[in-house]
């Protein structure tokens, strides 16, 4: 699923954020990505998402070397990945339903084909009564759930979540974790970047620990 080979990354002329990082994540796995603030968690997720390219080394995703993926194939590759940002990135002028349906809409699919799926998913994440609400009137937890729904509506093979519980209370954090575990049980590989130790303790999953630019895999 994911393989990093001697990946190094630095911004401008600053210090190396990642240095000779090597790891391999099999399909259907569940991993926490931990490390102190600024350790490079978001950078690693962005490398996976082709938002950044490494200064050195190779990243393989779905058996493809990302540096050699032709430009026209990148969008198709991204459709196989769901991503949840810490700051949600919901579009303010669209309703919750429209935000969640966006990944299917950009694929050019007919609304009638996915109308029921989107509504069902929103009910599943507990937003059945907020379908027509705009993001600015949603609470932090509701926004986070809408962002997760948008990430999983296209049935991704890989889910990347950057601090998904950073804006919610511990109760909501546990609820969201259960959601990720359920998705993993349905076959989606999950990588959750977090510095919330309580969250990590709640589920027995391997950890990718980033410190001083190096990465260690801990069971």
């Amino acid at each position: 699923m994911i393989r990093f080979e001697n990946v190094s990354m630095l911004y401008n002329r600053g210090p190396e954020v990642l240095r000779n990082v090597n790891f391999h994540l099999p399909p259907g796995s569940f991993h926490f990505l931990t490390g102190a603030s600024g350790a490079g968690k978001t950078t690693l997720l962005r490398l996976l998402f082709m938002s950044l390219f490494p200064n050195d080394g190779n990243i393989f995703l779905f058996q493809k070397n990302l540096a050699l993926v032709p430009p026209e194939e990148r969008a198709a590759l991204r459709r196989r990945i769901g991503i949840v940002f810490q700051d949600f990135r919901l579009l303010d002028h669209m309703t919750t339903w429209e935000n969640v349906a966006l990944p299917l809409r950009v694929q050019g699919r007919r609304e009638s084909d996915y109308k029921e799926d989107v509504t069902e998913l929103l009910k599943w994440v507990g937003l059945g009564n907020r379908i027509h609400a705009y993001p600015h009137i949603l609470s932090g937890g509701e926004k986070q759930r809408a962002a997760i729904a948008r990430a999983v509506i296209g049935k991704p093979e890989l889910l990347l979540a950057d601090e998904p519980t950073g804006n919610v209370d511990p109760r909501m954090a546990r609820r969201l974790l259960r959601l990720f575990i359920e998705l993993n049980h349905l076959g989606t590989s999950v990588v959750i970047a977090t510095h919330d130790h309580d969250l990590v303790k709640q589920y027995n999953a391997p950890r990718l620990v980033l410190a001083d630019g190096s990465l260690q895999v801990r069971a």
Binding site: N55, R89, L91, V106
Partner: protein
């Protein structure tokens, strides 16, 4: 192609139903974030100006065609009074001669009262005119399908009546009308180019702002897996709708102006000029079907400019960001560099536009600008050539005529005979041509050949003419010269002469060539070829002159 058609259809739909959601769902990129009222107003004003310009040029061309046809189909014969001459008999005689000519459909002599009426605006209305020797006019209508040989008619009249009967074919007016329409058309093209440039600049700026203000939407679209074409089409559609709406607004406003212009002029003129009088002067003063179609074309052009300019810039912005907003960025493929270099470039540490790419861009832009300057220079060069040839010239020490046509030498001989200069140099004469041979060609000028004409046999081209003339002028001590050559050749000749003899005063006397159609130079292939080859020679000549002037300045 499918995406383009979809964008096109949605853009047209959005132009007419801006508030309505055709697809039933919210627009991903809000229309208001791309085309605000200010932008719509600016593009509408541009369209209005473009439509106004195009309409005026079209109307002037239509009216000028009507004037031209009127003038071209009528010829006037003037019978001048003479002592003891019975004018009525003379007019009747000329009329009967004219009626017998082939190609004349109607001959109508103007009565004394009608001739007097023509002079009324200058001399006032009184009966005393009847006692004055007033020239009488005969209006001739030409059969346009079988026009007469007017020069032969003129010769026949001159042979019979000398200078007492004159034929005027209004050639001067025809030339004036052509000159007017050409000037209006050129000015119109200039304004349209300015309007198009301004519109493109405004759209480029608007596309940049739209991309900047919707940066978050673009990012979200990228990470939900949108193709670059999909993202671009979201913006292009809005710009197309903006172009159609603004274009229509501008065209409708211009259409109203054209529709009501004659009545508005009448109202503003306080009733002194009526709408029907304006119609007499400038034709219908309103646009016909083709005129209004022209406004429709402007709408299409404005919409096209809006769509394609935004498309180009959105594409360019998406391609040069080098981060998540750049799904098409393939560092290794693009630069063929190592993974370390590729990564540095992709993350903005090295410019995606490498020095090679920049160099190519500069070369392409420079080439385009040079080509534009070259083409524009040719239009200016060809338009500036004197069409009718020189009418008069002031006195000078000597005359130099460059060989290349009998009419050139003929004109130069006439200037010499008229005492415009002391001596004439015929430059570029064939080595074996003698004075006697030339004198036989121009029998009337034999005395001049004996006293005041020199032949230059050394020159093979215009540069040679200049050097030969300099030697001759120095030898004779002449400080000013009249240069006689064809009008189309004059700019280059003067440039070469000025380079070689900067201190000599040169006066151009151009001759209109019969084989060169300067009025329609752009449509006559032979003239176009001749002018283009002349232009290619003129550029080095004028460059040489420029360098020579700078050199003289530096030398003090």
């Amino acid at each position: 192609m499918k995406q383009f058609v979809k964008t096109f259809v949605l853009g047209i739909g959005e132009a007419f139903w801006p508030r309505r959601q055709l697809s039933g769902s919210t627009q991903i990129v809000p229309q208001s974030s791309v085309s605000g009222r200010a932008l719509t107003a600016v593009i509408s004003i541009m369209s209005f100006l473009a439509c106004l310009t195009a309409g005026v040029v079209y109307m002037v061309n239509q009216s000028a065609d009507a004037w031209y046809n009127d003038i071209a189909s009528e010829v006037t014969v003037q019978v001048t009074p003479g002592e003891g001459l019975d004018m009525d008999k003379q007019v009747a005689l000329v009329t009967s001669i004219l009626q017998r000519q082939v190609g004349i459909s109607q001959v109508r002599p103007l009565s004394l009262a009608e001739s007097s009426a023509l002079l009324e605006p200058w001399l006032g209305a009184n009966n005393s005119l009847l006692g004055l020797p007033i020239p009488r006019l005969i209006a001739i209508e030409i059969d346009r399908n079988q026009p007469p040989d007017l020069s032969r008619v003129r010769q026949n009249l001159a042979a019979r009546f000398q200078d007492k009967v004159l034929l005027d074919d209004h050639r001067h007016w025809q030339s004036q009308i052509r000159s007017l329409t050409r000037s209006v058309a050129l000015a119109g093209i200039g304004i349209l180019i300015l309007v198009a440039t301004a519109t493109i600049s405004v759209i480029v700026s608007a596309a940049r702002s739209a991309m900047a203000s919707n940066h978050e939407i673009v990012e979200v679209l990228h990470f939900v897996g949108a193709q670059r074409k999909f993202i671009a089409s979201e913006f292009e559609r809005h710009f197309l709708a903006l172009g159609i709406r603004s274009g229509l607004l501008g065209a409708l406003s211009a259409g109203l102006v054209f529709f009501f212009a004659p009545y508005a002029i009448q109202m503003l003129g306080g009733g002194s000029v009526t709408a029907s009088e304006i119609k007499q002067l400038v034709g219908s003063a309103q646009l016909d079907f083709f005129g209004y179609s022209l406004l429709g074309l402007i709408v299409v052009a404005v919409a096209g400019i809006c769509m394609f300019t935004s498309s180009y810039w959105v594409d360019r912005i998406l391609n040069t960001e080098g981060t998540i907003a750049n799904p098409n960025y393939s560092p290794r493929k693009r630069f063929g560099v190592s993974s370390r270099q590729a990564g540095r470039r992709a993350n903005g540490m090295m410019s995606p536009n490498g020095s090679f790419a920049k160099g190519v861009g500069v070369v392409l832009k420079s080439t385009f600008l040079l080509f534009l300057a070259f083409a524009l220079g040719f239009v200016i060069y060809a338009s500036s050539i004197d069409r009718n040839g020189a009418r008069s010239v002031v006195q000078a020490d000597g005359i130099v005529v460059l060989t290349g046509g009998k009419s050139r030498i003929n004109k130069a001989l006439k200037l010499l005979a008229a005492g415009k200069a002391k001596r004439l140099l015929i430059s570029g004469v064939h080595a074996q041509t003698s004075v006697g041979q030339l004198a036989r060609l121009f029998p009337g000028a034999k005395p001049l050949f004996n006293c005041c004409i020199d032949l230059g046999r050394a020159a093979k081209d215009t540069i040679g003419n200049a050097h030969e003339t300099r030697s001759w002028a120095r030898q004779k001590g002449f400080g000013s010269l009249i240069v006689v050559t064809s009008s189309y050749h004059m700019p280059r000749a003067i440039a070469e002469f000025r380079t070689v003899m900067p201190d000599t005063e040169l006066k151009a006397y151009g001759i209109a060539s019969s084989n060169v159609d300067m009025d329609q130079w752009w449509s006559d292939s032979a003239t176009l070829r001749l002018l283009f080859s002349e232009y290619l020679k003129y550029i080095p000549a004028i460059t040489k002159l420029g360098f020579s002037k700078v050199g003289n300045l530096l030398a003090g």
